[in-house]
């Protein structure tokens, strides 16, 4: 369990993390979302004591991370894949990390096998690709078989097989009752992995809810209908809680009424339907709606 209370981090006049409070519970995967510069990585660094909070506090498993006498077995952390000396081999890096806790070399070989690094374990980490570096970072996080996992963008640079492996791994670990905090910018991946979502925007928590609830609250369920008699159908659907928008090419986007009701109504009026597609909202849509005002580095709309 990770508990952040009024966590704040200021760098001079800028506030990177602004009075953030949240709880990451065991037994589920918690997704940590937010635009670039929202404060996710800074928050994660404060959780493991690398950065000192300007105000507030954060605990892991009931105490401050820096007070732990066994941090690697309590918390496994991947902050960025580049937290490895480029001149050291993957095996050398893991052995040095393991040595601090008296973890046996057999466990080092285990995590090397688990992350699929056997073939390159003797190679210097500086020669690794982004994906290999990411696997090494995950191997280091798993070294102490920790109760809590904090992974900042673990799938960044991984191949599709690796992405799927990370998803299955964190689902499995959460299933064992461990605490998992995971950040990613890949919304489709996150929607398949996370049970709960915390969204940061400009250093503040802008949402903290179970994933299905969040998607329901921030998206609209719509139905795409295609019919040669669009105006007739639109008129038939006319009601205060139903919105009908023209999707072009004889298509209508209908919100506020189910696909089944539209189909029944059309049959009743003898209006032929060529397509009837329910569209449920995605995490991506919910995220975009949520963070619209909180994006710091906005791109220009492509005309």
């Amino acid at each position: 369990m990770i508990v952040a209370e009024n966590l704040t981090k200021r760098y001079g006049s800028t506030t990177a993390v602004d009075d953030v409070s949240f709880t990451v519970r065991p037994g589920q995967v918690t997704g940590f979302l937010g635009p670039n510069g929202a404060g996710k990585s800074t928050t994660m660094r404060m959780i493991v004591g690398l950065d000192a909070p300007s105000a507030g506090r954060v605990s892991v498993g009931g105490h401050r991370y820096t007070q732990s006498r066994s941090p690697l077995t309590e918390v496994g952390v991947l902050l960025d894949a580049k937290a490895v000396h480029t001149g050291r081999s993957a095996r050398g890096h893991l052995r040095a990390m393991a040595a601090t806790h008296g973890i046996a070399n057999t466990r080092v070989d285990e995590v090397i096998a688990l992350t699929g690094l056997e073939a390159v374990a003797g190679k210097r980490a500086g020669k690794f690709s982004l994906g290999m570096g990411q696997r090494l970072g995950i191997a280091a996080a798993l070294l102490g078989d920790p109760q809590t996992l904090i992974l900042d963008e673990p799938v960044n640079g991984l191949d599709p097989e690796g992405v799927r492996w990370v998803r299955q791994l964190v689902r499995h670990l959460a299933g064992e009752g461990r605490t998992v905090l995971l950040s990613s910018h890949l919304m489709s991946e996150m929607s398949q992995t996370a049970d709960h979502v915390i969204v940061l925007g400009r250093g503040r928590v802008i949402a903290d809810a179970p994933l299905p609830e969040l998607v329901r609250a921030w998206t609209r369920n719509e139905v795409l209908v295609r019919t040669p008699r669009a105006s007739d159908l639109a008129a038939a659907l006319g009601s205060p809680d139903v919105t009908v928008t023209d999707a072009g090419d004889g298509g209508l986007l209908v919100a506020g009424v189910s696909a089944r009701a539209i189909g029944d109504l059309a049959a009743e009026r003898g209006i032929p339907l060529h397509e009837l597609t329910p569209r449920t909202g995605s995490l991506e849509e919910a995220y975009m709606a949520l963070t619209e005002g909180a994006v710091q580095y906005k791109t220009k709309e492509i005309a």
Partner: protein, 271 residues
């Protein structure tokens, strides 16, 4: 959501005594630092250069001194190459930590052992021991290699002209490495730390010695140069010298002050 009240939530115990046999101890952190230093090629290169440079210069000096009486104890032939190898020691100490900052390794180090003071002490211990052992090996090789060449042999029965200068030399090399390490922790940047180390060990003595040409009013600067690390090393390693203890104290004071600054920097700043 139902999982929020799952029983697993209550297993977070208020005490955090390690349940598994895997936990931090200071000797383990030292072992980790030992593995880290010796698993880098740059370390082995630096140490090889130190040995080769030192033994080579000793042999050259021993050969050059065959023909005439140099006026100093023969043991100095073994100790004097330190004037050059001290730079390698200082640079090795500096990159032992700046390499961690430039690669991001420091974040792995400090998440594995969050007590930053322990990391600092363990690193200092390992760097000092590695340099001391290397220097001892170097001196053994140099003593054996120069023995057939030297006009007057080293008198091993008189510690003041044999063991003491060598021990002081071993100590000095460890201190030079710690000076580099201290600057490395404070500056965090490889080039900057090396510049500071070379500046104190090599450039400052030359600059201060220039004031010996100046008037009486500048004499204090020349006097102050006696407290530079290199001057301390010279005093400490001089066979039968009078200022051996002052030299040793000077040599120890520099790394002590720098490592104190390093500790303040490591403790107070975000990693």
């Amino acid at each position: 959501m139902s999982t929020a009240t799952a029983p697993t939530a209550s297993t977070a115990s208020p005490t955090h005594a390690p349940r598994s046999p895997y936990h931090l101890t200071f000797p383990r952190v030292v072992r980790s630092e030992w593995l880290k230093l010796l698993s880098l090629r740059s370390t082995w290169w630096s140490l090889a250069i130190t040995v080769a440079l030192s033994v080579g210069i000793s042999l050259l000096m021993a050969s050059a001194l065959r023909g005439f009486d140099a006026g100093f104890a023969p043991v100095m032939v073994i100790v004097m190459p330190m004037q050059f190898t001290m730079l390698v020691a200082g640079i090795l100490g500096a990159i032992a930590i700046t390499g961690e900052y430039s690669t991001g390794m420091i974040r792995s180090t400090l998440t594995a052992e969050p007590r930053r003071g322990a990391v600092l002490v363990a690193k200092a211990l390992v760097v000092a021991v590695v340099l001391a052992v290397t220097t001892a090996i170097t001196y053994a090789i140099a003593a054996l290699a120069t023995a057939p060449i030297l006009k007057t042999a080293i008198d091993w029965s008189d510690p003041k002209t044999s063991w003491f200068p060598l021990l002081a030399g071993v100590f000095a090399m460890a201190m030079f490495a710690l000076i580099g390490l201290g600057f490395g922790f404070i500056v965090r940047n490889g080039a900057g730390a090396i510049a500071a180390t070379v500046g104190v060990l090599f450039v400052l003595p030359i600059v201060l010695s220039m004031f010996s040409f100046a008037g009486e009013g500048w004499k204090w600067i020349v006097d102050a140069s006696a407290y530079l690390p290199v001057s301390g090393a010279q005093s400490a390693t001089t066979a039968g010298g009078e200022d051996v203890l002052r030299g040793v104290a000077t040599l120890a004071a520099w790394p002590a002050a720098l490592l104190l600054g390093a500790w303040a920097s490591l403790r107070g700043r975000d990693a």
